[in-house]
Amino acid sequence: MRQKAFKVGLTTLVLAVAFGGLLYSTLREGAAYYKHVDEVMTDPEAWYGKRLQLHGFVADDSLLRRPDSLDYRFQITNNGKIVNATYSGVAPDTFKEGAEVVVKGRLSPEGFAVEPNGVMAKCPSKYQPKSGVPVRSAASTRASE
C-alpha cells in the first residue's frame, strides 16, 4: 500500500513538473504585457523588444494613411505621454482620432510597430454588457486573434 502511494505520488510529481515547465516556457513566448502608454514611456528602453499590449488614445490630428494603401501612422497618447506607432493592414471602424485603442506589437527606438491585426479599438458608445454575448466589432475581434 505504501509502495503504491509512493508510486502514485512520484508519477504525479513528474507529470506536474513536466507540465509546469512546459506551461512556463510557452507562457514566456505567448504572453504579452498589458500596459498603458504612460507606464511604458516613462522608461521606454526597458521595454524595447518585449511583446506589449499598449493601451491609450489615438492623438488628435495624428492619424495619417498613405493614399491607396493600408499603411497607417499615428500617435497614441495617455496621461500626457506620446508614442509614435505604425500599422499596416485592416483597421476596425472604431479606429479614429480620439478613440480608445489597445495595440499589440513591439516597441523600438523608431516607435511602436503594431503587428498584423493588432489594433483593437473600443467603441466610445454607451454599451450595456450583453449576457453571454460578445460585444465586439468584427475588426477588434479579428485583431485579438
Binding site: D68, L70, C123, K130, G132, E145
Partner: protein, 822 residues
C-alpha cells in the same frame, strides 16, 4: 406592469423558499403530505416564472418603455422576433430567463422521477429551489428586469445591439442556458444522494439522461455561437478562445468527462467519488461561467460591466456551493468506497480514466489561461495577456490525444485486454491511419497538426465502421436477417453504445473541420473597381460600391465577382450596415460562398464611396462546413442514446426484414454533407406560407427600380415600373417560386441586389444552419415512425416476447464475443 412583475418575482421567491423548507422538513419527519406540498410548490415556481416571462415579453411587444430593461434592449422599429429575443438580450433579462428555464426543467425532472426515486426527491426539490432562490434574490436586490424609470419615462427604446439581431443569436443563449440548467439537475440528485446516504448507483441512472440532455444543448449552444461568430463577426474564424466562449466550454468538457466515467461506475462500481466530484464541478462551472462573463473579473471585451456587487454575490454563492458539496462528499466518504481496483492499464476503464484526466486537464488549462491576465495582475502587479496562439499550442495536442483515445477506448475490453484481442481490434484501423498519413505526405500536406488529425480521424472512423460491421455480421448470422436489418437491430439493442459511436463520428467530423483551419489562406487588400486579388485558387474582383437606405439602416454594399481557377462563381455582395440607432457600430455582412471542401469568405473591411475603392479581407476556410455537419451527426447520436428503452424494444419485436433498410439509407442521406450541398443548389426546402402572405411580404422587401422613386417599396410605389414588378411577383409566387427564388430572379434581372430593400447574403446559404436540425429532426421522426408502425405489428406477432428473450441472450453473447475475450 412593472410593479406587477416585481410582485410576481417576490411571490416566486417566497414559494421557492417554501418548497425548500417543506421538502426538507417533510423528508426528515417522513411526512408524505409535506413532501407532496414541496413538490407542488416547485411546480408553482415554474408556473409563476412562466407568468413573469409572459409579462416581460408582453412589455416588449407593446413597447412599455417605462421599464428600464425594455427601454435598453428594444425599440419600436425592431422586428417582432427580436422584440421577443430581447428578453435574454441583456443581463437582467438573462438572469430571469436562466431561472425560468431552471424552474421548468426542474419541474419536468421532478415529475419524471418522483415515483422511481421517492427517497431522493424531497432533497432534489430542495437543492433546485435553493439555486432558484439565489437567482431570484439576485434579481430582487440587483438586476430586476422589471425595474422602472423613477423619473420621466422615455417614449422610445434604444434598440437591441444590431450584432444580436441575428437568428443564431436568438437561439444561442436559450440553448446554452438549457445546457447549463440541465447540469443543475444531476447536481441536485447527487446532493440528494449524499444527504440521504442512498449512494448505490440508482441516482446515477436517474441523472444520466438529464446530463445527456444538458450536454446536447450545451453542444448546440456552442455550435450556434461558432456559426454566429463565423457569419456575423466577420473575422474569418469560428473560435477564438474568448473568455465568454471558454465559459461555455468548461462545463461541456467536465460534462463529457462525466458521461464517460459514469459508465465505469455502472459496469465496475469504481470512481464513485470521482463521479460525484465531476457532477459538482460541472454545476460549479456553469455558475462560474455566468460569474466570469458578468462580473468584469476578466477584463475581456465582454466584461465591460464592472459590477462589484454582482461579483460579490456570485463569489459568496460559489463558496457556499463548494463548501457544502465537498463537505458532504468528505462526510460520506466511507460510503463511496470503490468496489474494485483497477485490474490492468490495458482495459477500457483505464482508457476512460485517461480520457477523464485529459479532459479535466484541458478544462483546468482553459480556466487557467482565461484567468491568467487577472491572476498575473493579482500576483505580480503586471497584467500579462495571452492570446489564441497560446491556447492553440496547448489544446492542439490535447485534442489529438483525445481523438486517439476516441478510437482506442471503445475497442478495449473491460478489466483486461489480451494481446490477441488488441491485434484483432486494432490491426485494420492502425493500417488505415498509417496509410492515410503516408498518402497525405505524398499529397504534399505539410501542416503536421492537421495531417496528424486527418490520420487519426481515419483511424477512428475505421474503428467505428469495424464495430458496426462486425456487430451487424454477428447479429445477422444469429438472427438470419439481412445486414441492414441487423445493423438497425444492433443500434436498437445497444442504443446507448451505438448512439455513443455516432456521437464519436460527429466529433471526428468536427475535428476535421477544425483541422482545415491549418490550411486557411487570407489576404487583406485595397481594391479599386476592376482590380482583382488572387487567394489560393480563388480570384476576387471588385466591381462597385452602392449605398442604400431603409427604415432601420443605411447599407453600403460592394459587388465583387469571384472565380475558382477559371470557373466563374458569380457575384458576392459583402456589405456594412449602419443601423440608425448605432451609427458608430456598423455590422459586417459577410459574403460566403460555401463548398464541401472550402468556403470563400469575403469581408468588406473599409470603403470610400467617392473613389469606389474598398478594403477587402478575403479568407479561404477549408472544411469549415464539416463542423456544422459534425454537430448534426452528434445530435443524432445523442438522440439515439437518449431514447427510452421501450422505443427500441417495440421496434425490435419483429422487424420486417428489409424494412430497416429504408430508414438507414435515409439517415445516411440526411447525415451526408451532400444534403448541405443540395440545400444551396437544389430547390428550397423552406415551408412556403400561403401565396398571398408571401406576396405581401415580398412587396415590402423589394424596392422599385425605376430610379425616380427614391427606392420606395414596391408595395407603396405608384409608378408603372412598380406595377410591373408587382405583377412579376404575383406571377412568380403563383408559379410556386420561393422567396429566395424571387430574390434571385430580381437580382438576375437587375444584375445586382439593387431591387432588394435589405441586401441578402446568398439566401440559400442562410439555410445551412437548418441542416443540423433537419438531421436531428428527421432522425427523431424516422425513429418515431418506426416505433409506431412496428409496434402495431405486435398484436399479430406474439413471438415478440420470446424473440426479445433470445435477443437478450444474443446481446450478451455478442457483447462477450466481441469484448471479454479474456
Amino acid at each position: 406592469m412593472s410593479s406587477l412583475g416585481t410582485f410576481v418575482l417576490f411571490v416566486t421567491f417566497v414559494t421557492a423558499s417554501y418548497a425548500a423548507a417543506a421538502s426538507v422538513v417533510g423528508a426528515r419527519r417522513r411526512s408524505t403530505r409535506l413532501v407532496e406540498s414541496g413538490i407542488g410548490a416547485a411546480y408553482l415556481v415554474a408556473a409563476l416564472l412562466t407568468v413573469a416571462s409572459a409579462l416581460i415579453v408582453y412589455a416588449f411587444v407593446v413597447g412599455d418603455y417605462s421599464i428600464r430593461y425594455v427601454q435598453l434592449t428594444s425599440d419600436t422599429a425592431q422586428p417582432l422576433i427580436y422584440k421577443l429575443t430581447a428578453y435574454w438580450g441583456g443581463l437582467d433579462g438573462s438572469v430571469m430567463f436562466w431561472v425560468f428555464v431552471l424552474a421548468v426543467f426542474g419541474a419536468f425532472a421532478v415529475r419524471n422521477t418522483r415515483d422511481s426515486h421517492r427517497e431522493l426527491i424531497p432533497y432534489v426539490v430542495a437543492v433546485i429551489a435553493v439555486v432558484e432562490m439565489f437567482f431570484l434574490f439576485l434579481m430582487m436586490v440587483h438586476t430586476n428586469p422589471f425595474a422602472p424609470f423613477l423619473t420621466e419615462t422615455p417614449s422610445e427604446g434604444q434598440g437591441l445591439t444590431p450584432l444580436l439581431q441575428n437568428p443564431y443569436m436568438a437561439i444561442h443563449p436559450p440553448s446554452l442556458y438549457i445546457g447549463f440548467v440541465g447540469m443543475t439537475i444531476p447536481y441536485a440528485f447527487g446532493m440528494a444522494a449524499l444527504i440521504t446516504g442512498y449512494l448505490d448507483d440508482s441516482w446515477l441512472r436517474a441523472v444520466r439522461r438529464w446530463t445527456m440532455i444538458g450536454w446536447l444543448f450545451l453542444s448546440l449552444g456552442l455550435t450556434l455561437g461558432m456559426i454566429w461568430a463565423y457569419e456575423e463577426l466577420g473575422w474569418g474564424g469560428v473560435w477564438m478562445w474568448d473568455p465568454v466562449e471558454n465559459a461555455g466550454l468548461l462545463p461541456w468538457i467536465t460534462g463529457t468527462a462525466f458521461l464517460h466515467s459514469v459508465m465505469v461506475q455502472e459496469r465496475r462500481g469504481m470512481l464513485r467519488v470521482w463521479n460525484m466530484t465531476l457532477v459538482i464541478l460541472t454545476f460549479l462551472l456553469t455558475i462560474f461561467g455566468t460569474f466570469m462573463t458578468r462580473s468584469g473579473v476578466v477584463q475581456s471585451v465582454h466584461a465591460f460591466g464592472e459590477d462589484p456587487k454582482l461579483a460579490m454575490m456570485f463569489a459568496v454563492f460559489m463558496v457556499i456551493i463548494v463548501t457544502v458539496s465537498f463537505g458532504l462528499v468528505l462526510y460520506r466518504l466511507p460510503l463511496l468506497r470503490s468496489r474494485h481496483e483497477l485490474d490492468s492499464w490495458a482495459s477500457r476503464e483505464a482508457a476512460f480514466l485517461a480520457n477523464n484526466w485529459v479532459l479535466l486537464f484541458s478544462a483546468l488549462f482553459v480556466l487557467f489561461a482565461s484567468m491568467f491576465p487577472t491572476l498575473s495582475e493579482a500576483v505580480t502587479g503586471d497584467r500579462l495577456t495571452v492570446g489564441p496562439p497560446f491556447f492553440n499550442k496547448w489544446m492542439l495536442p490535447i485534442g489529438l490525444i483525445l481523438l486517439g483515445l476516441t478510437g482506442v477506448a471503445p475497442l478495449l475490453a473491460w478489466r483486461k485486454t489480451t494481446l490477441a484481442n488488441l491485434r484483432y481490434q486494432l490491426l485494420w484501423p492502425t493500417l488505415v491511419g498509417i496509410l492515410t498519413a503516408i498518402g497525405l505526405w505524398i499529397a504534399g500536406v505539410r501542416v503536421w497538426s492537421s495531417g496528424l488529425c486527418f490520420a487519426l480521424s481515419a483511424f477512428v472512423i475505421t474503428t467505428l465502421v469495424q464495430e458496426f460491421v462486425r456487430g451487424a455480421g454477428v447479429r445477422a448470422a444469429t438472427t438470419g436477417s439481412g445486414r441492414f436489418t441487423a445493423a438497425v437491430g444492433l443500434v436498437a439493442r445497444n442504443h446507448r453504445r451505438y448512439g455513443g459511436y455516432i456521437v464519436h463520428l460527429g466529433i471526428v467530423l468536427m475535428f476535421l473541420g477544425f483541422a482545415g483551419n491549418g490550411f486557411k489562406q487570407e489576404e487583406q487588400v485595397l481594391l479599386k473597381p476592376g482590380q482583382q486579388v488572387r487567394v489560393g485558387s480563388f480570384t476576387v474582383r471588385h466591381e462597385s460600391i452602392r449605398v442604400s437606405q431603409d427604415a432601420r439602416k443605411q447599407a453600403v454594399t460592394a459587388t465583387v465577382s469571384a472565380w475558382k481557377d477559371d470557373q466563374a462563381l458569380g457575384r458576392l455582395y459583402p456589405a456594412r450596415w449602419f443601423f440608425h440607432k448605432n451609427e458608430s457600430e456598423p455590422t459586417t455582412e459577410v459574403a460566403i460562398r460555401r463548398g464541401v471542401f472550402e468556403d470563400l469568405y469575403v469581408v468588406m473591411a473599409g470603403f470610400e464611396v467617392q473613389a469606389q475603392s474598398a478594403t477587402f479581407h478575403v479568407v479561404i476556410n477549408p472544411l469549415v462546413n464539416w463542423i456544422w455537419t459534425g454537430f448534426g451527426v452528434l445530435a443524432l447520436g445523442t438522440l439515439i442514446a437518449l431514447l427510452p428503452e421501450q422505443a427500441f424494444a417495440m421496434a425490435l419485436g419483429s422487424v420486417p426484414s428489409g424494412a430497416a433498410t429504408a430508414p438507414v439509407l435515409l439517415l445516411l442521406l440526411f447525415g451526408s454533407p451532400a444534403l448541405a450541398r443540395a440545400q444551396h443548389v437544389g430547390g428550397s426546402t423552406t415551408v412556403t406560407v400561403p401565396g398571398t402572405q408571401l406576396e405581401r411580404e415580398l412587396r415590402r422587401e423589394i424596392v422599385c427600380t425605376c430610379g425616380g422613386c427614391g427606392r420606395q417599396l414596391v408595395a407603396d410605389c405608384i409608378c408603372p415600373t412598380a406595377a410591373g414588378m408587382r405583377d412579376e411577383i404575383t406571377k412568380l409566387v403563383n408559379d410556386g417560386k420561393s422567396r429566395e427564388q424571387v430574390y434571385a430572379y430580381f437580382i438576375e434581372q437587375y444584375g445586382s441586389q439593387e431591387p432588394l430593400a435589405m441586401p441578402i447574403d446568398e439566401g440559400f446559404n442562410r439555410l445551412a444552419w437548418a441542416v443540423p436540425y433537419a438531421v436531428g429532426a428527421s432522425g427523431l421522426m424516422l425513429i418515431g415512425a418506426a416505433v409506431f408502425f412496428w409496434s402495431r405489428r405486435r398484436d399479430e406477432a406474439d413471438e415478440a416476447s420470446s424473440a426479445s428473450d433470445t435477443d437478450e441472450a444474443l446481446a450478451r453473447r455478442l457483447e462477450e464475443e466481441l469484448r471479454d475475450l479474456d
